[in-house]
């Protein structure tokens, strides 16, 4: 059997349903990382951890990209303040639920209250930031959201809000030092005292940890995997929600707004109201994604909400295909695995497989040894921490340029995802009585 016929069969199989397609993408990326793991010198624990990391990040990016797809892919609302709305969600949650004693003092309310509050705050700020701009053309919304995102980040970072006492209650963002957040809620499942750094495992922990320890897999990796799986579940819920939103008369109006707002309003649709609703929902989901992200580490700081964060989400959406929910999830996973983690994997791979000698001080020193046909110093120079993340940006730029030139619709943007709750091509009339 030729390779092309195999790939044809795989394509035919994956084309049947979106679930299969997503499964195939996940499988492909896992296999890739499994193969790369021993080459990076990972033992089983390290391998498991590297898979956990791409699962965790893919799920988070999936949620964020889906939210942006709702705003930009469906309704054409150009929101480049994604990072800002993420920050609003996280910090509001932190202020509501962090312990009063922590850096960046909180109110110590239960975590669910904090999460709901974070979502509401992200929604509210989204609406407030967008209300004036939604009346105008798309470019203004872009400018306003970019500015709002930066204002939010700089406000959070400001020492003024590090700790504020209002009416005897002290709250704060921790300013430049960042903010301690409630402990990862998944720890409740495994530990007697989830808040304590070193706690004894509870009944579940006692049952689960030794089993994995038998394979050399550490407790933290097990806990991390549990959290990643919960995120996959939440991603599934968000996906389900947004597929329903998209495949409905509501989604149809959103698409019409994206294509030509005047036509939509000339057909009797109050487009402003649609835009406000969809912007609010999108911002809430961005807040949710960010809250889930930062809860895993129990800490956040303003540096996580630089504009680059917004562009990462955009790139993932462009890869996947704006306008497609399934494409958004695929784009998130492909972005995380290949573009975000990929360069780091290659770096570890090179350092593991080759003897990295002295790292040249400058780029020109590195180039100089090329003249002597010795690529070693250049390689060593490239795989330093600083340079590999710079190269990651170069890689992202190249991929973007290529995609915009060759495949502006992304991986799945070309598909006809008809916005309707029923199959429009099917007629009740032709198939007898309905």
């Amino acid at each position: 059997m030729s390779a092309s016929s195999i790939s044809g069969r795989v394509r035919a199989w994956a084309g049947v349903s979106d679930a299969r397609l997503l499964l195939l993408v996940a499988l492909g990326l896992y296999v890739l990382f499994l193969v790369a793991a021993p080459l990076q010198g990972y033992d089983l624990n390290g391998t498991f951890n590297s898979l956990r990391r791409i699962t965790f990040l893919s799920a988070l990016y999936g949620i964020l990209v889906l939210a942006l797809n709702l705003q930009w892919g469906y309704a054409g609302l150009f929101n480049i303040g994604v990072a800002g709305f993420m920050a609003v969600g996280v910090y509001t949650m932190g202020i509501l639920s962090s312990a009063p004693t922590s850096t960046g003092a909180g109110l110590g309310l239960p975590l669910p209250v904090g999460i709901v509050g974070g979502l509401l705050a992200a929604t509210l700020v989204g609406v407030l930031a967008s209300l004036p701009a939604l009346r105008l053309r798309g470019d203004y919304l872009a400018i306003v959201t970019l500015a709002a995102g930066e204002i939010i980040r700089l406000t959070i970072r400001s020492p003024v809000f590090q700790e504020v006492t209002v009416g005897g209650v002290t709250i704060g963002t921790g300013g430049p030092q960042g903010m301690q957040l409630p402990e990862n809620p998944i720890r409740i499942l495994f530990y007697e005292e989830p808040a304590a750094f070193a706690s004894d495992p509870n009944a579940i922990g006692k049952a689960v940890f030794p089993f994995f320890e038998g394979f050399g897999i550490e407790d933290t990796v097990v806990v991390g995997w549990a959290y990643a799986l919960v995120l996959i579940l939440i991603l599934g819920l968000v996906y389900w929600l947004l597929v329903r939103v998209g495949n409905s008369p509501f989604g149809r109006v959103l698409k019409a707004i994206r294509e030509d707002e005047l036509v939509a309003s000339s057909l009797g649709k109050d487009t402003r109201w649609f835009k406000v609703k969809v912007f609010a929902l999108g911002c809430a989901l961005m807040g949710l994604g960010a809250i889930l992200w930062r809860l895993s580490g129990g800490y956040t700081s303003s540096s996580s909400y630089m504009p680059i964060q917004t562009f990462y989400v955009f790139i993932a959406l462009i890869i996947g295909g704006a306008g497609s929910n399934t494409g958004s999830v695929v784009g998130g996973a492909v972005f995380v695995a290949l573009l975000f983690e990929g360069p780091l994997v290659i770096r570890r791979l090179i350092s593991n497989l080759f003897e990295i000698g002295q790292v040249p001080r400058t780029f020109f020193d590195a180039l100089g040894s090329l003249a002597g046909l010795d690529p070693g110093p250049l390689l060593a120079y490239v795989v330093t921490d600083v340079n590999i993340s710079a190269l990651r940006l170069v890689l992202l730029g190249v991929v973007l340029v290529y995609l915009i030139q060759r495949r502006p619709q992304g991986l799945l943007g070309h598909r006809k995802e008809v916005a309707s709750s029923v199959d429009l091509s099917e007629r009740s009339g032709t198939g007898g009585e309905k």
Binding site: L241, R244, V245, S248, P249, F250, G251, R252, V253, K255, A256, R258, E259, D260, L262, V263, A264, S265, S266, L267, G268, K269, D270, T271, F274, K277, V278, L281, G323, K416, V418, A419, S420, S421, V422, L424, S425, E426, R427, S428, G429, K434
Partner: protein
């Protein structure tokens, strides 16, 4: 040029000068009544005190040389632009300064001079967008399990109507095509079909035949006549005089932002001032 320009302040007093009985004052039973409508852009008075009425069930034409203010009038009626002065009454309701979606929801729907298709939506999606008051246009109704079933039932009914409308316009073979892939003429048909899906009382057609080949034009006109007998009212802007004279009655002639005359094709054809307006005042004085 106008015989005597009305003073800017002198409001609705018998607007058009030297008009015949039919022009100017719309009769009381008109479905759409435009009264002394005014709109300027900078120093240009695009619409300068236009008044006319459209009878229910008629196929009224709005004609005039380029720059007469026809398109601006359309935009004022449909809420795309706000008038500086004057009033627009549709079906007994004052719809002056309504926003476009409010006008459409009253049952007064328009098409565009250059067909504005929603390119990256299929022909069927374009049609399904039309119907007013779809419960599935509420965010939560589309999502929640119980209400979604109702939305689906509604959509199955609308789907049937969409297919029937496509067949009526003979573009059902294009149903699943992206609207952006349609030819110019097909786009015009699609736009008409989409407007009809809103179940309007009255349709404003902005040059529905521009760029449409003669065969398709015939077909489109046939459809318009058929719909008129079903009770729809049409007001159309058109430059093709053969079409206007052969199919429309009455005809409203605009010139320099005002209504020059209103009448049957014969009356308009024999009106010296109409000829004068079209030929720039060099003939027939």
């Amino acid at each position: 040029m106008a015989a005597d320009a009305p003073s800017p302040t002198g409001a609705a007093t018998e607007a058009p000068p030297a008009g015949d009985a039919a022009s100017g004052t719309p009769s009381d039973d008109a479905l759409l009544a435009v009264e002394d409508l005014r709109k300027s852009f900078g120093g240009i008075h695009a619409v300068d005190g236009a008044s006319f009425g459209v009878e229910a069930g008629s196929l009224t034409a709005l004609i005039g040389p380029n720059g007469a203010g026809k398109s601006t009038t359309f935009n004022l009626i449909t809420g795309v632009l706000d008038p500086d002065a004057g009033s627009i009454v549709f079906d007994g309701t004052d719809i002056t300064r309504y926003r476009p979606y409010q006008v459409a929801n009253r049952g007064l729907v328009r098409t565009f001079q250059i067909a504005r298709e929603l390119d990256e939506m299929t022909v069927l999606e374009n049609l399904m967008l039309g119907p007013r008051g779809q419960s599935g246009e509420s965010l939560w109704r589309s999502v929640l399990p119980g209400t979604r079933r109702q939305v689906q039932a509604e959509e199955i009914e609308l789907r049937e109507r969409a297919w029937e409308t496509l067949e009526f316009f003979e573009i059902d073979h294009l149903a699943e095509e992206y609207a952006g892939n349609l030819s110019g003429g097909q786009r015009k048909l699609l736009e008409m079909a989409r407007v009809l899906m809103t179940d309007p009382e009255m349709v404003l057609l902005d040059e529905p035949l521009a760029g449409v080949n003669p065969t398709l034009s015939e077909k489109l006109l046939e459809r318009i006549h058929e719909l008129r007998t079903e009770g729809y009212t049409f007001l159309l802007v058109e430059h093709d005089m053969d079409v206007v004279m052969g199919h429309c009655d009455p005809i409203v002639v605009m010139h320099q932002g005002q209504v020059l005359t209103t009448g049957s094709p014969e009356e308009v054809r024999n009106d010296e001032r109409v000829l004068e307006a079209y030929l720039g005042g060099e003939v027939g004085t």
